[in-house]
Amino acid sequence: MSDTHAESIRFVRETTLPQAEPPVAERGVYKWGRENLFATPGNALLTLVALYVIYVVLSAILPWLLNGVWNASSLSECREILAGETGGCFAVLVDRWQQLLFGFKYPSDEYWRPALAFVLFFVAAAPVLFFDLPRKMLAFTAVFPFLAYWLIWGGPVLVPVVALVGVVVGYLAYARLVTQSFAGGFFGGIAAAAVTWIIGGYIVDWVSGPSSLLRAVPSRDLGGYMLNFMLGVTCVSLSVPFGIALALGRQSSMPLIKWVSVVFIEFIRGVPLITLLFVASVMLAYFFPPDSNVDLFLRVVIMITMFSSAYIAEVIRGGLAALPKGQYEAADSLGLDYAQAMRLIILPQALKISIPGIVNIAVGLFKDTTLVSVISMFDLVGMIRGPILASTDWNGVYWELLGFAALLFFVVCYGISQYSQWLERRLATDHR
């Protein structure tokens, strides 16, 4: 065939050209930059302004960060080392890191105990948070609160054991009685647990001598970020079940339960958290005799839990209200009783809808734990504002300390928020 047109056509391409690269302006970083940063004159202007702002911010922060002093014993020594140059005095973090993390009174040779409890917390939380993990791990989760209590507070090992036994006895009584009626099981379980605790309390007092495996550390000696974390974890995990109960109570058709829930929720939501904390620390001391030492930590936990469970109840009520009425009717038509309907049909859907709201409350609650510094508990912020800034060595170091606190809180809060997004994606099996 090629001969046919040998005269009439001077050139026939017989192979395809190798693919050439796109022009420089149409590929790689140039294309991306042109399309995203300099698409229009307006965009170009904004890009330049943004670059300038970034430059200004970084040129202020980077020298401060990179030129920081990490080894000094006081602020004045820091300043001598820096000799007028810009630079942070991070030596305060090196000098006082134990106090920032554990408070200033936790015995320093016992730091491994809260640290171990912190590591174990992740093991215990994992099966709750990630439901692909083997269900058997939940057994450890159930034991963890008692183990963590013993690790952090120390004292006789029998105390957490008795508390655990009480819970188990209560659960067994509940399982036994609940087949007849839910209320019977509920109150029977509580009564059985209480009886076990009271008897166990006498046994503990009678058996345990002054010496114990782990040295006892009173609540007053807890502090630093450990305190924030403990308050946050305890209060969030307690307030979710209470919040669910309150939300269901508010929807109940029984007037007493309904009004108790409504009054509780509305009262707690109408009072600032800081007021509740003052009541916990100051007013309760008037009501109890001077020697009856109801633990301040416990008082604060009760108050924060009440506060956040009222908020969580309202979030969950929103989730319940969002469910179509047909879901309730479907549950009824299947012949499920109230507890079954809630457990199998209503709550799984309502809680899924409520996840963003619950996470929002949890993050807020975790940060609100810093409010305990106003009732002279030395949490992270309390340590910074009180002892560290009031020491002659470190008075005047603000940015480094508060920046460190912000970093610690950011890590946890960002982690919670990322987890909740994963959870929402994971659970998104519906029509949305």
């Binding site: 309390g201 007013m283 416990l298 002892p387």
Partner: protein, 338 residues
């Protein structure tokens, strides 16, 4: 802490019946620890060090009382209190004595039902200005901008002072001492005013303290001292006379270095009575005969405590001023030990 928090909550009702009615002195002895209210942290006056041990001018009073009663300056449970919680902590019996640079005022003494048992620091409101301003007296401050903490007595004192001297000023309201430092250093105000000891402590944290001066005028009276509850005079006496013992020790030349032997080697009968080598002063008060010697041995006499925590050798660098012994023209004065 034998009982868990749970058991504690369960047994509140049972404990509520058995409130103690004995005197505070007996309570402290039975407990073996003194519960002493301090600040959550104030430079030089009370703050825990890197090892968690409380130190400071107010802390020294607590330790001296503990040594006088219990014989051990470390037998103190320091209860940190804020400006808001301090009075309820004392009134509710959570603490035995409050040593938290608290100003002695009529209403606190009478209306809140406390007894101020003495003064361990005479403070007063002062002014700090940059040296570059070229001002040497507060009366030259006509038209100045003044950083002032809102809602405090210092605000009212300031208004009074400027009105009496017929000069004008422009207030810059701020909330906390930390904010004041930043505002003042940033030049938002020409003058910063608060208690003179606070000004000195603040200035000590500046990069160049030498560029700032405290003006000589002190425009208010702020007598700071420890206080106890109304109605337990035996306990009030113990705290008061422990403080007086520290003050008298400085006047009589008893120091932490010589307290061990001066009681026997001296010929001064008042020193002998003070240190318990003669007379029965301790017995009258219900404590050991050598109570004052133990109190002085912990941190030294008043002058030593002052010098160690807030004196001119420390970064805070406060001069004795009003807090000198009366023999040196100050107001610090102990009644006779007789």
């Amino acid at each position: 802490m034998k009982k868990t928090a749970i058991f504690g909550a369960l047994t509140i009702a049972g404990l509520a019946a058995g409130a103690a009615a004995a005197g505070t002195l007996d309570d402290v002895k039975a407990r073996g620890k003194l519960n002493c209210g301090v600040t959550t942290g104030l430079v030089g006056f009370a703050a825990p060090d890197a090892n968690g041990k409380w130190e400071g001018f107010d802390v020294a009073v607590c330790r001296a009382v503990a040594a006088a009663v219990l014989g051990d300056g470390d037998a103190v449970e320091f209860v940190p209190t804020t400006g808001k919680t301090r009075f309820t902590a004392l009134a509710s019996g959570e603490i035995d004595v409050l040593a938290r640079n608290t100003t002695w005022t009529f209403s606190r003494d009478v209306d809140l039902k406390f007894n101020f048992i003495g003064v361990n620091y005479y403070d007063g409101q002062g002014f700090m200005v940059p040296k570059a301003l070229g001002v040497s007296s507060a009366k030259d401050l006509d038209g100045a901008t003044v950083c002032i903490q809102t809602g405090t007595t210092t605000e009212l004192n300031l208004a009074d002072f400027f009105r009496t001297n017929n000069i004008s000023y422009e207030p810059v309201p701020i909330e906390t001492n930390a904010e004041a430092q930043q505002q003042y250093l940033a030049g938002a105000c020409d003058v910063y005013t608060t208690d003179a000891s606070g000004l000195a402590a603040t200035r000590a944290t500046f990069e160049t303290p030498g560029d700032h001066i405290l003006l000589p005028e002190i425009i208010s009276k702020e007598p700071l001292g420890p206080l106890v509850r109304h109605g337990d005079d035996e306990w009030g006496d113990v705290v008061a006379w422990t403080l007086y013992a520290l003050i008298a020790a400085e006047e009589l030349g008893v120091t932490s270095a010589n307290v061990a032997e001066i009681g026997t080697s001296t010929n001064n009968p008042e020193i002998k009575r003070l240190l318990g080598t003669e007379g029965t002063l301790g017995e009258m008060m219900g404590v050991d005969a050598d109570w004052a010697a133990k109190a002085i041995a912990v941190g030294g006499n008043y002058g030593e405590i002052f010098a160690k925590n807030i004196g001119e050798e420390t970064p805070i660098g406060l001069a004795r001023g009003l807090n000198a012994q009366w023999t040196n023209g100050g107001l610090i004065y102990a009644p006779p030990f007789r």
